[in-house]
Point group: none
Chain length 417, copies 2
């Protein structure tokens, strides 16, 4: 079944709000096995709404609209739908009574504008909005379905879950699409593609592979129609083969990140972590502490932005700071060892680099970052050269530091077994 | 001038990512005085892209496409555009050489897939992507413009700002719309609206005011058509009046945040800062160090996640930790004083709280956060109770800590003068 999502509102077209509704609806429709062909946003004008609706009905079986159902003059979705689908405006008593109760409780006058929200075309099935004043509407025309929902996210979500999805499944449901997404880190998209080409070519034709690159990781999504066979297990099997092919680059599934992967390994080892940050300025610690349960392994961090704090708190040698500079292998290693000692942990990470936009030199250009890892067995550091942009350099240094820890723990794991 | 935005990628249609690109582009186009008629998202298929493009060209003067420019087989925007606009595929030497340099610096093999990114139809003007490997392309056809940009947000933004907007203004610009946005912090939208109602009512009719609320701040945007008068100065004057009305809540303009406002005050005072973080876990330091120039005032931070680090590194009293708990006024104050002493700074901030999802109690529910500020004149702390969500609690604690520092510096400033 083909679907299209149309979000209505001038505020979307001027970029005043990011349209998160359509992403959520798309996810729900996909999970239910419906294909989303297009997502369209249009303004609050009769012509734009009619154009969008007619275009969508030409190619899709179901169209979900959100927005434009408010009580004020600029919300014209309902009158436009009444015009398109015909019918007389009638009062929906359940909505009328509920809205009176809701508004009176909030101390808002139940005036004519508000009363108008309970008026719906009698060609629509009313979807009761228990959390707001604008009812949803379900139209059928020439074997196709058009659903109109309020734009307020939680009202829309409740109506989608309670009313729209069950009705769509009832009406159109056949084969669900099964998705699973594996996360890789450390190989650029092109290199990953070349590395896993034999695996990709050997995939059964029922599976569809997609590459989803982002600056720090590449996600690989396998999809299949659930035709009642072992599609889910086949996806599982193929991802296991992939993991065996690129163990050091395979992070996990779904929402996994280098941080969650490293955290999981720390917890399974019962190991503790400390962090010393210069160029990442707290972002590395924040990435770990953003996840619940960080207190299980993260004892503490020092953001040693000044050389004074590097030497006094982390015991980095003043001579080495002067001789090699703060952005150097030896200072990175001393920072990691220093914070490991200070916080009495098993592992420690340290970052020192030139995030930019200024501070670069010919020898150490902006984007140069040393990352050190101290373990119970010693300390080592690796040099990276990222790009020109400060935010990206911090993000990449942060992810690569977590990745160094992850790989070390992965191999410590192999040895333990 | 009418424009349409088309974002390309299966990941958008299955709801795997929220399309933030199109909101940003819409905002930029509007600020430049161009009307966005529609935003459309389609999948990575030739038919969908051609349909979308032809539909957009039928009603708009300029079409901005993002996405589908990666090196792998599922990225087909470029070949589809070459088919639509004709022309021979030729190598763009600047892109070829830059990509070789970028990839080699990252230790990535410059293979055929990567080399293919430098191939462009000779019907396009190449927009040099200095921050990534996929070049932008500018096509003209029958007096209309089609621009193809990479989907990676920061690459897209750089190309929009540096290349696309200046070229569009040059080609289509007439009456620009002048926007200016003031940032407020600390008043909920409804309270802010009530507080500034007299100011709002006295605005001249040529100015349009919009409220743009977000969880931690409310932005106020004034817009006017640039008809060659003193529109820009009038906006300036009105915002000055606003600043006088709500000095403690007025953060600044444009991209200003509580962090940039506090940083600016630190620098103008020649004052230094240290930070001790428990529940914010590095996020407060990261918010300051995300801005260039943080080394001018930030000496260092300690993320004291464990009580051991709180007592040994920050010299928080073991007795108070046991007696009052880590989430308490006295521990927050001792953390701030401890890190101020350790890093030898003028000011210090400290956070300690229960970010969640677990760890709450009846007396100290999830969301309870103590924030302390140590100054040359002493130390004090304030208790906040935020919500249930970890990420939000960290974000709010971070912003409110910076705001406490900002207000203190603002009043120190007033005394100095």
């Amino acid at each position: 079944m083909k679907t299209e999502i149309i979000t209505i509102g001038d505020e979307i077209l001027i970029g005043q709000i990011v349209d998160t509704n359509s992403a959520w609806i798309a996810e729900q429709l996909n999970a239910a096995g419906f294909t989303v062909m297009r997502k369209l946003s249009v303004g609050d004008t009769r012509e734009a709404i009619l154009d969008a609706l007619n275009g969508a009905l030409a190619s899709s079986d179901a169209v979900i609209l959100t927005g434009g159902l408010g009580p004020t003059k600029d919300d014209i979705t309902k009158t436009t739908l009444a015009e398109r689908f015909g019918g007389r405006m009638v009062r929906d008593e359940a909505t009328y009574i509920r809205n009176e109760r809701i508004l009176t409780a909030r101390g808002i006058d139940y005036n004519d504008l508000n009363k108008g929200q309970a008026m719906v075309p009698d060609t629509a099935v009313v979807l009761q909005n228990l959390h707001g004043t604008a009812p949803g509407m379900w139209f059928e025309t020439e074997g196709k379905v058009v659903v109109s929902l309020p734009g307020v996210p939680f009202e829309m979500k409740e109506l989608m879950s309670a009313e729209v999805l069950p009705r769509l499944l009832d009406r159109f449901g056949r084969h669900r699409i099964i998705h699973r997404t594996a996360i890789t880190f450390g190989l650029a998209e092109s290199v990953l593609a070349a590395t896993i080409a034999p695996w990709e070519e050997a995939l059964p034709p029922t599976l569809h592979l997609a590459y989803l690159p982002s600056p720090s990781q590449v996600r690989l999504r396998l999809s299949a129609y659930d035709v009642g066979g072992d599609e889910a297990q086949e996806i599982e099997r193929q991802f296991h083969r992939l993991e065996e092919l690129i163990p050091d680059y395979f992070i996990g599934y779904g929402d996994a990140t280098v941080f969650s992967a490293a955290a999981r390994l720390l917890i399974s080892h019962g190991a503790t972590l400390a962090i010393a940050e210069s160029c990442t300025g707290g972002a590395l610690s924040a990435a770990f502490t953003a996840m619940p349960g960080a207190s299980e392994y993260l004892m503490g961090s020092v953001v040693s932005y000044s050389n004074d704090v590097k030497s006094r708190v982390l015991r980095v040698s003043d001579h080495d700071l002067k001789h090699h500079g703060a952005v150097s292998e030896t200072v990175a290693c001393q920072m990691a060892e220093g914070v490991r000692r200070l916080c009495r942990t098993d592992y420690a990470l340290a970052t020192t680099g030139i995030a930019g936009p200024t501070g670069g030199s010919e020898e150490k250009p902006v984007g140069t970052v040393w990352i050190a890892l101290a373990t119970p067995d010693g300390v080592s550091a690796r040099r990276f050269v990222f790009g020109q942009l400060r935010a990206q350099n911090i993000e990449r240094a942060t992810a690569n530091a977590a990745n160094m820890l992850r790989i070390a723990l992965l191999h410590a794991d192999a040895l333990d077994i």
